[in-house]
Symmetry: C2
């Protein structure tokens, strides 16, 4: 069974959830469990699962500032283990979380977050309506592709109260310096995809997720994607030293 030299990890597993559960069981310390994000060109990124459980004192400036503008009823999309939701709850806000990882949802629930298991592209009809919709922790990437991203933004208008805003953080792929990212982006463009549409899967120990699309966008590209969805890019907070930014979109 082990004479071949190809990877046979079964797909469909909750790799990030398993990593975060392992980290949580071990006291949420760093250095215990690492989720591996694998792009389909073989590029690996390793995330210590402890970052999904970290307190806001350890976040970057952009990440710390991003949720500060949240007001009213808050929906935290891709809430993970609830690190942003809990920070907002400590400030007295009402927060509902949504995540598609059963492991993440279990941990978030155990930490007191009101959380629902769902895909961003198939949100339950009875979630309620919100003043603030969050896509933090780089979750603008969950928009996936130009077409999927437009569908998601359009569907979010149905959950939006008057004056609602989306606050999201994203990675600007044009600011990533590794040559492999540049090559990958150029290959995407040649194939008619957006520069930062990354085909990814998550892996942890012997668990592998299905492949999915992660969409890295420049702020300008996000503004263009939002056109016609009911949302307009209205504010931007960029980091000078790290290619992450916070974008705010307003309804209308």
């Amino acid at each position: 069974m082990t004479t071949t030299t190809t990877t046979v990890a079964p797909a469909g597993g909750d790799a990030i959830g398993a990593a975060v559960q392992a980290c949580h069981r071990a006291g949420s310390c760093a250095g215990i469990a690492h989720a591996v994000l694998e792009r389909d060109d073989g590029m690996l990124t390793v995330n210590d699962a402890a970052i999904y459980l970290s307190e806001d004192t350890t976040w970057s400036e952009v990440e710390r500032r991003a949720p500060l503008a949240a007001t009213g009823m808050v929906l935290d999309l891709g809430c993970g283990a609830g690190r942003h939701a809990r920070a907002l709850m400590r400030r007295g806000l009402d927060v509902r979380g949504v995540d598609n990882s059963p492991g993440m949802v279990a941990v978030a629930h155990s930490l007191g977050v009101d959380v629902e298991l769902a895909d961003l592209g198939a949100l339950p009809a009875d979630l309620g309506t919100f003043d603030t919709i969050l896509l933090l922790g780089g979750n603008l990437g969950l928009l996936g592709s130009l077409a999927a991203g437009r569908d998601i933004l359009s569907s979010l208008t149905r959950l939006a109260r008057s004056g609602a805003r989306i606050i999201g953080t994203g990675i600007n792929p044009y600011r990533l310096t590794h040559a492999a990212h540049q090559r990958y982006g150029e290959g995407n463009v040649a194939a008619g995809r957006m520069f930062g549409q990354y085909r990814m899967r998550a892996r942890f120990e012997d668990v592998s997720s299905d492949w999915f699309d992660l969409l890295l966008l420049s702020p300008q590209e996000l503004g263009g994607l939002a056109e016609g969805t009911g949302w307009t890019l209205c504010d931007l907070d960029e980091d000078d030293t790290f290619p992450m930014y916070t974008a705010t979109l307003r309804l209308g």
Copy 2:
């Protein structure tokens, strides 16, 4: 170019060396660069590259005790960035290191270690002779397989002075509790291989090594493998809480 969902990372790269060089450039801090060890069943193990640069104050008890018995002229096989070699040099011993990773050798050299780039199976003829030969950091695994391990041990008799010893640390695969390790071991046995012969490659960012065999042995299996090679297992230091042990083999 990115429509398939299979990994196309080029093989043959010095993945662990690249990870350690990235960590070393960043001040040898933890949490910066992670080497991913991938088994051919898809099982991943993530190692913070900082462990290859760590000082002996952070090592486990077994790892700390292992080199204490080194005497005379010392050969450190698979010396990596030289963490064990440097600890012994601080104690006044003469140490030569050998590693097959150009990146590791570059870092070890920059840290003052007398180090040679070579494979364990093809050691240079002019290395010299030694009183102590080290296979630390789990490097008994570099024996690779029953046949390769016997060849390596036999070849080491030519580098051995009278009374020489090999001091090596290894992982006992029968003490690993994850079900995937048990399944893999049973598959190995069914195919006529040793239980702990793991087919592995190292990955870092977009760099992947060739596949290689890592041999995890029980102390009893090591004793059997050594028979007829000129070496005899003579001492064992086992950890109660972690499946790593130190084995000492004497010439004759």
